[in-house]
C-alpha cells in the first residue's frame, strides 16, 4: 500500500515560503525580477539573471508545456508502491522556469514532449497542497523546436 502519511513535508525556507503559501490559496506564483522582469525557479534571494535584489512574487499564467516526462514502473519507496506505473513530468511554464510535477488523467501513450498543460492543485495529505497539471488544447506554440 502506498502511504501518503509518509510523504515528506517540503523543506521550506524564507526564499521558497511564498511559493507554498500561494499553493495553499490555489495559486501558482513565481518570483519575478523587478529589474529585468524574468521569473526564476527554484526561488532564490536575488535574480539569477541580472543579480538584482528586488524580487516580486507574481501570479503565473499556470500554463506551460511538457519539457520531459518519465513513468515509474517500480516504486523505490512504499509511498508509491500501489501507484505504479505512474507519471512524473517536468513542466516548462510559459514564463520560462521549469518545475517537477504530476499530470492528471493522462496515459503514457498520450504523453509527448511539448504538449500543453495547465496547473491545478491537489491536497496530497492534510495541509499539503501541491501543483499538478492537466493537458489542454490551446493556441500557444507547444511544439518542440
Amino acid at each position: 500500500m502506498s502511504d501518503t502519511n509518509h510523504l515528506p513535508t517540503p523543506r521550506v525556507s524564507p526564499d521558497s515560503a511564498p511559493f507554498w503559501a500561494a499553493c495553499k490559496g490555489g495559486q501558482l506564483e513565481l518570483p519575478v525580477c523587478a529589474t529585468c522582469k524574468k521569473a526564476h525557479l527554484p526561488p532564490g534571494p536575488v535574480c539569477p539573471f541580472c543579480f538584482s535584489d528586488t524580487i516580486e512574487w507574481k501570479p503565473a499564467s499556470g500554463r506551460g508545456e511538457i519539457a520531459s516526462w518519465v513513468e515509474y514502473h517500480m516504486a523505490f519507496s512504499n509511498r508509491f508502491s500501489d501507484q505504479v506505473p505512474y507519471l512524473v513530468v517536468l513542466v516548462e511554464l510559459d514564463e520560462g522556469p521549469r518545475l517537477v510535477s504530476s499530470i492528471r488523467d493522462t496515459a503514457s501513450k498520450d504523453m509527448r514532449v511539448g504538449m500543453r498543460v495547465e496547473v491545478g492543485f491537489e491536497e496530497l495529505k492534510p495541509g499539503l497542497i501541491v501543483p499538478t497539471f492537466s493537458p489542454i488544447e490551446d493556441n500557444a506554440n507547444g511544439d518542440l523546436i
Partner: protein, 388 residues
Amino acid sequence: MKIDAAIAGIGASKFGRGLPDSQMAMGTVAFKKALEDAGLCREDVDGISIHQGSPLGVDYDRVASALGLQLHYVNQSWLHGRFVTNSLQHAAMAVSCGMADVVACFTSVSFSRERAILAGEGDHEANREEGGSHGEAPLYGLESPGSGAAMAMQRYMATYGVTSADLAAVPISIRSHACQNPAAIMQNELTLEDHQSARIVIDPLRLYDFCLLSDAAVVVLVTSSDRARDLRQPPVRIAGLQGIQAGREEFVFAPPHLGIAQQTFAPTKTYDLANEAFEYAGATIKDVDAFYTYDAFSPLVLFSLERFGYCGRGEAAAFVQDGRIGPGGSLPVNTSGGLLSEAHVSGWNCIIEMVRQIRGQAGPRQLPRSEVLHWGTPWGDSAILTPM
C-alpha cells in the same frame, strides 16, 4: 598548470554483490594491495582523500585510526559519486603543493547494505527545497538517482529521434568489455533482445540501463612525479585536470542545452566545450586512445561523449552503434566494464583500469595504444592520464 603528480600504486578488493565484509575491511585489502603495488609502506602515506563517506563508505578519521595511519592532509566528501574526480584532484593538488607526500584516494562502498539511502525515506537529500541532488522530487515520486537521467533521456529521445534500442548499444558494448575482465561482476554477453525484453524501471530506462549496486573498494596512491619515478611501477602521470562545471546551464545528468532542469534549449548552438584539461596535458581529443566515464546510467555515456566533443549534439546515439565504443572499437569506453557491468566503485574501477592500460598490464583487454586516456564525467570534469 602547477600540477606535478602521478599515480604510483593501485589496489582493489573483490568486487561483488552482497559481500559479507565491512567497508573498512574491503578498503584495507585494497590499501594493502596498493602499497604492495607501489612498493610503499603505510608510514609513507601521510594524506588521504576519501570520496564516499559513511554510511555508504568510510570516514577519514576511522580509516586513520583503524589502519594506524598518521595523517596530516585530509580531503573528504560524503555521499555522491560525482566527487570522484574531485577526490583525485585534491590528492594531485596536495602532493603538487607539498601539503602531503603520498595521498591515498580511498574508496570503499557497500551499496548492498546501504541502498536504502538512495531513495525513499532514507534519502534525506531528495527533499532539498530546490529538488534533490539528481533532480529528485519525492512528493511526486521522482525518486532515486536514475530519475534525472531518465528525465533527460526522454527529452533527448524526443529531440533527436533516438530509441531505447539505440541506447542499448551502450550497455551492450560495455558488457563486452566486462566479459574480458575476470574481476567484473557481469560475465555474460548482453544482447539487444536481452536489453529490450528486460523490465522497464523508469521509462525510458530499462533494467540494463542501470548500473550495478555492488560492494567494492579501490585505493589509488598519488605522489609527486619525482617520487613516483623511484617506485616499483611505471608512473602514470596526471597530465591534465579540470573541475566540475556548475551553473544555471548545468544539471548533473544532462548536457548543457538539452533543456533539462533550468537549462535553455538552443538547438543551433554548439557547446562551449570545456576541455582545459587537454590543453594542460598538451593533447587534443583526437589523441585519446580510450574514454572513461561515469556510466551509472547508460544515457550518461551519450551525454559525456557529446559534452567533450567526441561527436556533435544529438549524434552520440548513432556514434555508439556498430561496436565503436566496445572492444576493438575506434573509441573504446570503460574497458573494464564500468559501473554498468564491472562494479560501482563510484568510478574508481575506471581510474585503476586506466592505470593498468597505461602500464600495459590490462591482459586480454590491453589497448593497442594507451598514450592518452581521458576520464570525463557527465558533469564536465576531467582527468587526462598519460605515461610519465
